[in-house]
Subunit: 131 residues, 2 copies
DNA sequence: GAACATGTTGACGTATGCGTCAACTGAGTT
DNA sequence: AACTCAGTTGACGCATACGTCAACATGTTC
């Protein structure tokens, strides 16, 4: 039951988050410039809270799923309690589309893997023949 | 047992393939310029054979899988009987990486779907309350 | 107090994958 | 001959998602 230190703190520097998630500080600033994040400031320095960190995690998951930052921006607005139900529906559709894409990809990947193992087999036979 | 007409022919114009696969002729020329295709020529006009068409199908599948054209180019060289076994191995690794990525994506997508249905639930409850 | 780490804001550059002209070349049609 | 259609080659443009400076401020350490 030991949590990572990051779950105990509530304040993070930009470099903390960059290191934790393996991204550049430049990327984080870029997300802010696109309105995906809005950390507090102390002077000019950004101060991130757990909320901001959670948003960043959502951003990164969206990216892993292949969504554009624009899409992710829409998606993040769903976490705003004032969000509209109609938009929820739109986003659900977007996610469903992605799901269909992923299923296609899985199918493509299976085909590809089969072909590669065939190629691998042929290659090793050729090797065994000393050709 | 009726095959599409395209499987009977051996010669295709660029527009035939573009139409068949739902891509632009510009894209096909672009692939050629990157060395992924090398159709014959009659004068300046490109003539595609079934081999070329098969390569194009591989290219498109690679794209669906998220590989870059550079990666796909390497991948296509595997279909060259003179290809090296070492490279087969590299490509198998690349595909394995993609597979891992896709599995991560599927996992991310499941999480996202769960969150969305939660949001959807909350939204509809709010609607029912007339809030 | 001089050096060093960390942070900030532009501005410009980069890679990928085409789209979009522009200008031109045959080939077949009326 | 004039047109139209399909095709060709550059050249330039564009969207996305940052990377890479430069130039500067601030805070900390030795």
């Amino acid at each position: 039951m030991n949590r990572p230190e990051s779950d105990n703190r509530d304040l993070f520097a930009i470099a903390d988050l960059a290191k934790e998630f393996g991204i550049s500080t430049r990327a984080i600033r870029f997300y802010e410039s696109k309105g995906l994040l809005s950390p507090e400031r102390v002077g000019a320095t950004r101060i991130f809270r757990r909320r901001d960190r959670a948003r960043l995690m959502l951003i990164l998951r969206g990216k892993r799923l292949g969504f554009s930052l624009r899409d992710i921006s829409d998606y993040l607005s769903l976490y705003d309690p004032r969000s509209q139900a109609a938009q929820v529906h739109l986003l659900v559709e977007m996610v469903d589309e992605r799901l269909a894409l992923l299923q296609q990809q899985m199918s493509d990947l299976n085909t590809t893997l089969a072909e590669l193992s065939e190629i691998r087999k042929l290659a090793s036979e050729r090797l065994a023949q000393g050709n």
